[in-house]
Amino acid sequence: MKFVAVSSCPTGIAHTYMAAEALEQAGAAAGHQVVVETQGAAGSVPLDPAVIADADGVIYAADLEVRDKERFAGKPFVDVGVKKAVHDAPGVVAAAVAAVESWTPADAAAAPAAASGGPATKVDSNASVGTRIRQWLMTGVSYMIPFVAAGGILIAISFMLAQIAWGKTGVVDVTKVPLDHLLNSFDAGSLKDWAAVTFQTGNAAFAFLVPVLSGFIAYAIADRPGLVPGFVGGAVSVAIGAGFLGGLVTGFLAGFVALWISRWRVPKGVRGVMPVVVIPLLSSLVVGIVMFVLIGQPIAAAMKGLSSWLNGLSGSNLILLGALLGAMMGFDLGGPINKVAYTFAITGLATTGLAQDAVQYRIMAAVMAAGMVAPLAMALATVVRKHLFTHAERENGKAAWLLGLSFISEGAIPFAAADPWRVIVSSVVGSSVAGSLVMAFGSAQRAPHGGIWVLPLITNWWLFLVAVAVGMVVMAAIVIALKSAKPNPIVQAEEAADERAELVGATV
């Protein structure tokens, strides 16, 4: 076999070269060719790309960060550190041979990107199928959220500016400022122009939502080979009006197509061009054909159906939806059910061309309000009924104020972990109240995260706050009632200790 290797060490004058020599010798002794790039103090001559392309595997005998590691992406490798190569080069070469023999191109997907510091995924390859599907999905969602945040907040800001600049019709007028005008006659003194620039920038960010969602779902499944068909599929989905539903489908489709193609056993000559040309080309084509010819139309119809269903919801139905989403947000405080509700809200934001108070934005507001309730309520409860909580919980309560205000539901987890059913029961009720109230009040929200920090972007923000406050009080009241019914022995012990300490203090 043929190997390329990289050696390096802290000083760069001894082990780097000893490792190189030892690997070359051990390789030759075992009938393999090893070509080493010594990244040491005496300068480093980069390996000939042809040698890298020709190599069956890579040996990293490096104690420093390997320079230009991406050159070796997609090849089987062992990573042993420089000392091992010096002390036991034959063993390292044997390990490298074993790595090549046991290598499937699917590993090529997972391993090198992780090693070369590619974008992180939330995927644990040992998890069950259901868990992995959720992890693939969440990887896509987590890469999409920053785009939603940037785009959503920019658009919301532009609408605020527009309403100052144009008056009541601002949110419509700002979308009608022609691009030509901004490019050729931008007036720095015109608030309208600033609003329009902000709007267009936000709009551009929003255009990435579905492709990023799709691309990174595929990336989570197939690693780097999934990116291209995933993004392409997402773009196709937008083009045919299949929206985020289509994006979800193309993400999974692209991921599995890319994974399948990358597992093909191909002649060595072709292997080099697989990741760069063959996989992106074929997988994109497959995804494109499937979307345009086969399933795109039904998905677009389903998307339209979902949108019109949501938009058709009114009055009590909307309030019910808010209550349900709120309950989900409060149920596991950042766990899977919470994330389902949150993802539902986020993907709604990805729908383009909605009115400012569209149902999708009202859902986002309801979900956000509900997610703020639990930590706030626990914080409140620790203040008004101190003696129901341990010292540690009282400390947690202080942090929970800020976490709750920032829409970080996880702030309530320490309380839920210590006393699950009382906290969760009250959290489900309180969050659900907040969710349904927001729906009833009609607040809408374009930003996917931020809590009170994005308050100015929420329509009817004072009512939004009222909803959060009511949910908080309801939950605090329930949790206090439940906890009072059955005193916590740890708390009682602590209280007793406190009293003794106070008595001692008094006598001294």
Binding site: P10, G12, I13, A14, H15, Y17, T38, A42, D63, V86
Partner: protein, 151 residues
């Protein structure tokens, strides 16, 4: 062309020290006496710092303290034979052959090629054995000078 990597002055075939620090110090003193290291304490500190990162003992009874240091004037090698053995942290026991490699901090890379070549030779059992068998300082210096040729 600068002076050779090693001369007979830089070899001690009977170091009687028994700990890592003292052996290293003995070899540093040789380098100082030859005018290749300007500050014995400063260089010793640099070597210790390197040794602390990862022990330099190698299988086969080799110790390899080394450092790049501002106190070194030219790439140099000092060799000590320690008949009683001295621990350099190798997995298979104490070192009887200790190489102290001194590299200037500012040396341009061409200058350091000689050290790269030395490191590559050190891996070869035959090279190490010939040094262990060498009866005197001059032979050790000769072998190194003959065998270590920059590629």
């Amino acid at each position: 062309m600068s002076s050779p990597l090693i001369t007979a002055d830089l070899v001690d075939v009977a170091v009687d020290a028994t700990d890592r620090d003292a052996v290293t110090r003995r070899l540093i003193d040789l380098l100082v006496a030859a005018g290749r290291v300007t500050d014995a304490d400063g260089f010793h500190a640099d070597v210790r710092a390197r040794e602390a990162q990862m022990a330099t003992g190698m299988p086969g009874g080799i110790g390899l303290p080394h450092a790049r240091s501002a106190h070194v004037t030219e790439p140099s090698l000092a060799v000590g034979k320690v008949p009683a053995g001295v621990d350099f942290g190798a997995p298979d026991g104490p070192a009887t052959l200790v190489f102290l490699i001194a590299a200037p901090d500012s040396g341009e890379s061409a200058h350091l090629q000689i050290l790269a070549a030395l490191a590559r030779r050190l891996v070869h059992e035959s090279f190490r054995q010939s040094l262990k068998d060498a009866p005197d300082a001059a032979t050790v210096a000769d072998i190194v000078t003959r065998e270590v040729v920059p590629s």
